[in-house]
């Protein structure tokens, strides 16, 4: 493909060159932090350069050469971020892999990407790689960060991260020209280098390796850094999966370009506390995280005293009513302004503080459509939460809300330098600065996704509204029609359901059927609290999900959803007629969700065919056996009788429909 990279200001066209610049310009400003042994440890840009250099020279000593691929597997750790940069500095290509991938998926990616090196976090990942070693003949060296439990292993191909760096440092000590040589190697890199290969988890089929070019990546990051006025004084928390484009974009690309500090939490379980301690100014989270936070807050409020609970709900009501208007500068009665002011002091600011959002200047949500109520909740507290729409193939940003033009139902106008157009069938096509180079070793699918005039097909359906904002309808291929011709957009219905804290996941069916029916997962966290308060005992998710009282509660939620749908003329026909609560949680290990937690509806429909048949046959319960995969790859069988219920639907003025 032709390289049409715009000239880059300052001349840095690879990330390692940006690292040198940051080490020069922001020498003593923090680049990374990690909480270790209970204390935040930090590295300045100057120190980060030294770490990356030692690692790169150490890797070169191991035989790393231009073009080598290095797999990076683990949680967000400074050492793993340095590996990205060290590999790039030697002309190598980092390939981040989801750390919770089961061995099978990992084997596919590592084999397909032809990795020679792997840098991993701990024993768990080393074990997985050793297990796969005969299927990965190209993999030569495995480098691990955490030495725990690995002392007894055979170290012919295994290396501790620290020992690789030590090798690099002693090479520098022996011969100081090693630094100059490394910098020479680094300067050979250019805009046409492959910066990273990101494997998309894919809601359909086998994952694809998206190649991101270095010059393009930096051009895209520069545009967005300017858009949100990010600078070296910003702070971000790195907690998203390394292999997801969002993490690479935010915590690597943008951090390198803007020079801001990225903090790594102590562990997944301490995330909320770490978030609060760091107080990021720039925050990015998929809707699910915002949902979970709201669920946590709701649960904790249930335990609060009655007075506090009333105060909380009262002022949240005030915020819901006038919060957004006040923030958007629209006229609001004085009384409400005063109330909002008091609420801010009593509820909103303390709540934001608990959540770690006190210092947030810019927050984004993306990855999936966010429920409008959820979006409004955070906005009304006074948080600058915006939506963006993007794709791995675009190197993330296609559209985003500019400050002051924020609406829940759109994803904003196109970003600077991004060209968007809507194809015949409503599919969104784009050209943008960060556009991918192609799929790695897969020209067939690269051709498939490109239109004749060089645009990339997103697979999403959408349209521009009168203000030039893009509205996403759904995955183009998911939007369908009921048998009576009613428009049916499953995502829309699912998002409405997922706004209830008790509902974790929803999968709607209805295309070419007589009515809409849904599978649900309850939120174990929220429902178990509820069960405790209502004296309901249970032994497992399966038992709780099958409890009739849980069914009653969920049924109530669905009735409310139907009421809501009935009020929207174009959606009223798509009310939910029947539902069931699945006997197991949908899980990426079973292939039901992608690693980024998106529903793979095709696969779910196949897997639970008997349940779908039962939804449409009028049965009130159905027996099902499901194979499940445990974390270590072993398989087991889950058997259950799943109850199916009818739900009340509401008539609409336009389209008469009898309540059942």
């Amino acid at each position: 493909m032709a390289q049409d990279v715009p000239a880059v200001a300052g001349g840095e066209d690879t990330f390692p060159k940006l690292l040198l610049r940051n080490a020069r310009d922001f020498t003593s400003r923090p680049a990374m932090r990690e909480k270790d042994y209970g204390i935040w440890q930090s590295w300045t840009w100057g120190e980060a350069l030294e770490e990356v250099r030692a690692l790169a020279i150490g890797l070169a000593e191991l035989g790393f050469v231009r073009g080598d691929k290095v797999a990076i597997i683990g949680a967000n750790r400074p050492q793993l971020y340095w590996t990205f940069c060290a590999a790039q500095s030697l002309g190598g290509v980092p390939v981040p892999v989801y750390k919770d991938s089961v061995a099978e998926e990992m084997a596919f990616v590592l084999d397909h990407a032809e990795v020679r090196f792997a840098v991993v976090e701990d024993q768990e990942q080393v074990d997985k790689l050793l297990l796969l070693s005969d299927r990965l003949p190209k993999l030569e060296h495995v480098i691990y960060k955490d030495e725990r439990g690995l002392g007894d292993y055979d170290h012919t191909r295994l290396h501790a991260f620290a020992s690789v760096q030590d090798a690099g440092r002693s090479a520098i000590q022996k011969d100081a020209s090693a630094i100059a040589e490394w910098e020479k190697e680094l300067s050979r890199g250019g805009p046409d280098d492959i910066s990273v290969i990101l494997y998309t988890s894919g809601t359909t089929g086998q994952s694809k390796g998206v190649i991101i070019g270095s010059g393009r990546a930096i051009a895209a990051a520069r545009d967005t850094v300017a858009f949100d006025k990010l600078n070296e004084h910003d702070e971000a928390l790195a907690y998203l999966p390394l292999a997801w484009v969002g993490d690479f974009y935010l915590n690597f690309a943008q951090a390198m370009v803007a020079g801001f500090c990225v903090s790594c939490p102590e562990s997944e379980d301490t995330l909320l506390q770490d978030l609060r301690e760091i107080g990021p100014t720039f925050y990015f989270a998929p809707p699910r995280i915002f949902e979970n936070l709201l669920t946590t807050v709701s649960i904790r409020m249930e335990d609060a005293s009655a007075a506090k609970r009333r105060m909380f709900h009262y002022f949240l009501g005030v915020a819901r009513r006038v919060g957004e208007d006040i923030l958007n500068g629209r006229p609001v009665p004085l009384k409400d302004r005063v109330l909002y002011g008091i609420g801010r002091w009593l509820v909103y600011e303390p709540l934001k503080n608990v959540l770690g959002f006190s210092r947030v200047r810019v927050a984004y949500t993306a990855g999936e459509a966010i429920g409008p109520d959820l979006f409004a909740f955070y906005r009304s507290l006074g948080m600058n939460l915006k939506q963006l729409y993007g794709q791995t193939e675009a190197f993330l940003y296609l559209t985003a809300h500019p400050d002051g033009q924020i609406r829940a139902d759109t994803v904003g106008p196109p970003m600077p330098n991004v060209e968007l157009k809507i194809a015949e069938g409503g599919e969104i096509l784009f050209k943008c600065p960060g556009m991918f180079v192609g799929y790695f070793r897969d020209e067939g699918r690269t051709r498939e996704v490109l239109s004749e005039d060089g645009y990339v097909k997103t697979g999403d359906a959408g349209f521009f509204d009168s203000e030039g904002h893009l509205r996403i309808v759904d995955r183009a291929k998911d939007v369908g029609h009921l048998n009576d011709g009613t428009l049916y957009a499953p995502k829309y219905i699912e998002n409405k359901l997922k706004f209830f804290p008790n509902i974790r996941e929803a999968v709607a069916f209805g295309h070419e059927r007589d009515f809409v029916a849904v599978f649900l997962n309850i939120d174990l966290n929220a429902v178990s609290y509820w069960a405790e308060r209502n004296n309901i005992s249970y032994g497992s998710y399966q038992e709780l999900a099958a409890n009739p009282k849980v069914y009653d509660m969920i049924e109530q939620h669905i009735v409310e959803t139907n009421q809501d749908l009935a009020s929207e003329p174009e959606m009223a026909g798509a009310q939910i007629h029947r539902f069931l609560i699945l006997h197991k949680e949908l899980d990426p290990d079973d292939g039901e969700l992608t690693r980024t937690q998106k529903v793979r509806r095709g696969y779910i429909a196949e897997r639970y065919q008997p349940l779908i048949d039962a939804l449409y046959s009028g049965a009130t319960s159905q027996y099902i056996e499901t194979e499940v995969t445990f974390e270590d790859g072993r398989k087991g069988m889950l058997r259950a009788d799943v109850e199916i219920r009818d739900v009340k639907t509401f008539p609409v003025a336009k389209q008469k429909e009898a309540a059942e």
Binding site: Y37, G38, I39, R148, G149, D152, Y153, E266, T270
Partner: protein, 270 residues
């Protein structure tokens, strides 16, 4: 993984004896809890004590850490024989333990509970500690670091500041192990470390026990009812029944011993 582990096991066979109990008898009034029990623990091994309910397993541990004083017999720890000694003295000698029913300070945080494990290693007195200045400050920081390493080792960062009483049972057990490890003991006594845990928690606990043994080189004596766990983890197993030592040896040998099978399954008395 397996190969080095058996090597280590072989090494412990020839390891030095850390603790030996000779002809221990313990009676409560007319009840004979232990009758003439002798066994030893070698440096670096995982030694299991098993037996049916009421066989005298916990009594044996209580004798080892000085909580009970046997009427007969001697216990020799690191070459020093003792008859009567207070538990706190024994703790200072390097024996730590956990309890069958968790015995933590429920109102204190995980970190504070673990810090109490450092008590035997603290040198300044509590008045000076209250001031938190100079040498006391340095001492506390050093102790805190040890505790943080243990927190990291047992993966309980997320509950560092949570009051222990609010934690689920499995985690409380882990905190108790952490406190025992904070003493940096030479000999660690675990009384049913896996009782009341689900499969996943048991697996975690097994890994922590093995890691403690391998990486910190701690000698471990454990009582456990889960036979699978005992047979997998331990280097040698002692079997008690009605206060008598009925078998002692490698897990495989003990498992096939007729007397052990009888004790567990019961025999008909003709």
């Amino acid at each position: 993984m397996r190969a080095p582990a058996t090597e280590a096991a072989n090494a412990t066979e020839t390891g030095k004896t850390v603790l030996s109990a000779e002809n221990i008898s313990l009676t409560f009034g007319g009840l004979k809890a232990l009758r003439d029990v002798s066994f030893d623990v070698k440096k670096g091994e995982i030694r299991a004590i098993i037996g049916p309910n009421g066989a005298g397993k916990t009594s044996m541990l209580n004798c080892i850490n000085g909580f009970y004083h046997p009427q007969e017999g001697t216990i020799t720890f690191k070459g020093v024989a003792r008859r009567r000694a207070r538990p706190d003295r024994i703790a200072r000698q390097g024996i730590a333990r956990t309890f069958q029913n968790v015995a933590l300070f429920k109102g204190m945080s995980t970190l504070d509970n673990i810090m109490t494990g450092r008590l035997t290693k603290m040198h300044t007195n509590f008045l000076l500690q209250a001031i938190y200045w100079g040498p006391n400050q340095r001492e506390e920081i050093a102790h805190r670091e040890v505790c943080e390493r243990i927190i990291d080792f047992l993966e309980i960062e997320h509950i560092r500041n949570t009051p222990v009483g609010r934690l689920p049972y499995g985690l409380q057990k882990r905190v108790e192990l952490a406190r025992a490890l904070a003493m940096e003991p030479d000999l660690l006594l675990l009384d049913e470390p896996m009782a009341g845990m689900n499969l996943e928690e048991k697996q975690d606990m097994c890994r922590f026990i093995l890691d403690t043994n391998h990486q910190l080189g701690t000698t471990i004596v454990l009582i456990e009812h889960d036979m699978g766990v005992v047979m997998d983890l331990s280097d040698r197993v002692a079997v008690l029944d009605y206060g008598n030592l009925i078998a002692d040896g490698r897990p495989d040998d003990v498992q096939s011993d007729q007397r052990v099978i009888d004790a567990y399954l019961g025999v008909s008395h003709q």
